[in-house]
Every structure is written in C-alpha cells, then in structure tokens.
Symmetry: C2
C-alpha cells in the first residue's frame, strides 16, 4: 500500500523553496512518499501561480489522487477559484482515498467541497508552517504525530481541555469549520455548506477580538450558530491590544457572544495559527462528550479507500481501536 | 425652522471629550443648534456605554427627532444592537425630518434601516473625525460645506473624476453602501438590504487589497455585485504593503474583480476614511451619468419633513435648483 503525499500550492506564493524542501524531507521521514506538484513553487503576484495555474494544480492533484494532498501554505487565493473548481473531480479523488489537508485559506476548499459534494477533508497542518522550520527542535511535538495518525486512519478521536461549565455535554453532528474570516467570506455564496445540527470549530489570526465578535455575531444573526449543537473555539492569535480596549479582550468577546447564543461555545480547541494543532475531519459525523473539563471528539473510522473501494487492503490500524 | 443637531455615540468609546466639544463648537458655527446626547461620552470597555445604554441612546435620539443625528465616531458596536433596534421608531424620526449621518461602523445602522424600513439616511462625516481636529486649518476644505448643504437639503448631486473607459454610462437605482467590512458582515442576516438594480458604493480602511478582494468576491459569488447597475469605489486607505505582494495592489485587485463582474466598477469616489468625503443619501433613488471621466450622481430633492408632512414650511433651498 502506497503512502503517497503531494505538496501543492493553491493559495499564496511560496517565496523560498528551502522550507518546502525541508518539509518534504521531514514528511518522508514520517513515512510518506513525497512529491512536489509543479504548482508548489509557482509565482504570480502574491499568488502561487495565476488563477488558471492554481486551478489546474488542484485538478491535477485530484486526478493523481495521492493518499495525501497537503497544501504548502495558506495566505489568500482559493476564493478566486471557487466558482471554477470541478468539485465532483475533487470528490472522486476523495472516494479513491485522497485526504486533502490544510488550514487557514484551505478552509475555503474544505467547506466548498462539503457544500458541493459532502466529501470529507482534513483540517490540519500546512507543509511550510508545520514541517518547514529550519531545525527539528522547532517542530511541534504533537502536530506531526497527530498528522501521521490521521493520515494513516488510526486517529479516531481527539481530546482537549475546556473551561468549567460544560460537564456532561453530549452532542452528535457533522464536524465542520476552519478559519473564521475565510468561512464567513463564504456566507451567502453557493460555496457555503448549510450544515444544521453540526459541531462548528473556528480559529483566526491577526484579528482583534472585536473583529472576531463581529463575524461571530454575523453567524449568530444569520442563524448559523443556533443551528449547531456546539461551537468549538480554537486559537485566536497574534492580535494587537489597543488603548481603546479598556478591559475588552477575547474573554469579554466570548461572553458577549454567549449572551445571545444558546448553543454551547467551548474554548480551548488546539487548532489555529499556533504550533500545536490537531487534525479534524471536516464533514465527518462526530460525537462530542465533555467529562468535567475534558472534551472528547470521536468518529467512526471510515476511510473510503479502505472500506468502500479496497476492503482487501485490510490495513490493521483501521480496526485496531 | 430649527436646525437642531444631536451628537450621539452608538459604537466605540470616546476617550477624550475635547474633540467632541471642538466638533460641537464648529458645528454651531456652521449654523446648527448642537446638543450632546448623554451617550456621547459614556464608557464601557471599548464601547460608548454598554449595549443597553447605546440602544437607549439610539431610541432617545429617534424620539427627540433632531434635524440631524450625527454620530461622534465609528469603531465597533452597532453589530451588537442590530437585533434589538426599534427600526420603525428610527424610521418615524426620519419621517419627522431627522437625517442620520455617519460612516464606518454607522454603515450597519444605515443598511439595517434600509433593510427593515426603506428609510433614507446619510453616509457622511463623523463628528470627531471630521469636525474634532485641534486647529481649524486641519479641517478639510470640502467636507464641512458639503455636509452643511446636504443637511439643509440644498445638495442634489455630487460629482467626481473616475478612470477613463466609462464615458456615456448612465444608470438609475437606489444608492446604498458604506464600509465594505461592515456591509459584508450583514450578509445572510435579516439586516441585509436586498437592493437590486442599485448603485453600490464601498470604502474601507486598514484592509489589505487581498482582504478587500475577498469580500468583493464574496459579494460577487453571492450575486450582489451582478444585481447592481454600478459599483462606486471610494478610498481603501491605510493598508500596509507586504513582501508577499510582488506587484499586487489596489489596481490589480480591482482588475481581478472586474474580470469576473459584469457590473461597471468605477473608482475615485471621494468617500472613506479620508479627510475629503461627500455626503451620500443611502436608500435614495439616484441617477448616475458619466461624461468622459466626470461622474455625476444626482437625486431629486425629497426631504420627507418638508414634502410629506409639513409642505407649509416651504424652505426655499428645497426648490432652488
């Protein structure tokens, strides 16, 4: 059984090749047969190639259907492609076993896939951000191992600590979400996945809490938050305080949203523009259980490659839990 | 006929009273009887009073129905109030003759009004930004005079220069718009005005062109841009270049949006987070005419106070053109 992994660049330009090459080496050590799509180092303005080139890259990777399609980095660029992506082609690659992975701008791809085809993808690392550091000791201790487990099909649950007050909470629903700004920019478009009764996870970077609040209140006023069974907040990192804040910050923002939203909003999800990030199956039906302050999000193993198309591969880890 | 003007603070906290007092004096010199609503200098975290206080201020000003209701500043805050605003009460103040004025965060109020009641308001200056400077020579030469004309009912058209390529363009439709980020945050909510065949104006501040583009493409993908007869772009100011840009900037952004949008997109509108700003009647039916590079946006005088409810007031400027 191959364990092929293709690096591709659907969004922002990769300024230097070295981090991509370092990421490729580290991913090889992790057990993947790594190849670089020709898009990976392409350049056009602030994009990894012009729109046609990036669109072609997406479709080329989908046709090749590697085990893992991992984006090199985020930035901005997928929004431009959404109206032109061949979603069924991408969904067929997923039926053939491809796991599409990334976060940040890749949220647009993941949610578009969910909206158009209900196909599953993975919110998880990006090659440069999480595997491209100069030295090994700059790598996160958890992220690569969780990624390896998720890509092999071993990962069937993730856990984290949240605030007190949610002990006993249980919910089942479709897990979806990603970067809040990118997700919100799909609202009202054909690329918005109309998930009801889901479990929505969100993160963002460089956004002041009042900007996060504005988007969360938009989702609230649009009926999105109330339609979910739970909201999981990851990290909202790298925002700058202002003299205008006067005691307003992330905590006060979450309180303000909780005051108008009946859906439980849990903080503490290890996900976002931070070194330690879980892999989360976007579009998968999951079960959430809170025991005191411990949150478990579990799902049934259902890698379509193994179960639907090639049951004979009999990979042990698929049923090892 | 009184020319009363009330300063109120529906959004961000006013840290210092001095700019508000200077603005009040200058507005008095301009011919207004200025009063300060008790909200004007209220403080709660980064807001001008807590949500209940700011909501009460809006309703109090609406009940008093001054000739002009001018916000002190923008920032963030109206999003929190949208679900609780008594829109018919605000619309009644407008029927009684009140012109609600502001830009930036005030966009949420103006578009909510339009969505819920079709009532007209004015995109125009904010007290602190445009009348609160320390010395008179820091004031813009155009903004105060256009404001005075608009508030007196004299202003029946505005003009500006745009790029070549739109000579002969003519369009009639409802004028609407404001701050792009604030406007976009209404999409999908009950506060979104579903204007079709309109003339949409947009501005923003501190937003990199790729972020402006993402929101414009959201409006495009949501069918909003195509449903308009023209898009007028004001200033997109104070964004920081990045080493990642590689030749991508505002110009390239506009080109990218034009490539997918059939609606004419005209740049050069004097509006935004810049000193020189026009007053624009939000919700008013206007006529747009382009002669070579000169754009004219004109409307019929229709101050409801004078024409619908008190025709006997017979203010001369109303028919002076």
């Amino acid at each position: 059984m191959t364990n092929s992994l293709t690096l591709f660049s659907p969004s922002g330009v990769v300024l230097k090749a070295a981090p991509v090459r370092r990421a490729a080496k580290r991913l090889q050590k992790l057990g993947f047969e790594v190849s670089l799509d020709e898009s990976a180092l392409a350049r056009f303005q602030r994009f990894a190639g012009d729109d046609d080139a990036r669109l072609a890259a997406l479709h080329r990777v989908a046709e090749a259907a590697p085990s893992v399609a991992l984006a090199t980095r985020g930035g901005y660029g997928l929004t431009r492609l959404l109206d032109r992506i061949d979603w069924p082609l991408l969904a067929r690659s997923i039926e053939r076993g491809t796991r599409w992975v990334g976060y940040s701008d890749v949220t647009a791809l993941q949610l578009g896939l969910l909206a158009h085809t209900k196909a599953e993808s993975w919110a998880g690392p990006l090659a440069i951000d999480d595997f491209g550091k100069e030295t090994d000791d700059q790598l996160d201790e958890i992220t690569p191992e969780v990624f390896r487990e998720a890509m092999s099909g071993e990962l069937e649950a993730v856990g984290f600590r949240t605030e007190a007050g949610f002990d006993g909470l249980e919910a089942k629903g479709v897990l979806w979400g990603g970067n809040l700004t990118v997700l919100s920019a799909l609202l009202g478009t054909p690329h918005w996945p109309k998930v009801r009764g889901g479990i929505l996870f969100l993160e963002d970077v460089n956004e002041h809490p009042y900007r996060v609040e504005r988007l969360l209140l938009q989702l609230q006023q649009a009926g999105v938050l109330q339609a979910q069974k739970a909201i999981l907040l990851g990290h909202f990192s790298d925002w700058k305080k202002s003299p205008l804040d006067r005691g307003y910050g992330l905590k006060q923002m979450v309180e303000a949203v909780r005051a108008v939203c009946v859906t439980p909003i849990l903080t503490g999800l290890p996900f976002g523009h931070v070194p330690t990030k879980l892999c989360l199956p976007v579009g998968r039906k999951v079960q959430l259980v809170v025991d005191r302050r411990d949150v478990f999000v579990g799902w049934e193993h259902s890698h379509p490659h193994e179960h639907e198309h090639h049951p004979e591969c009999g990979c042990e880890h698929a049923h090892g839990h």
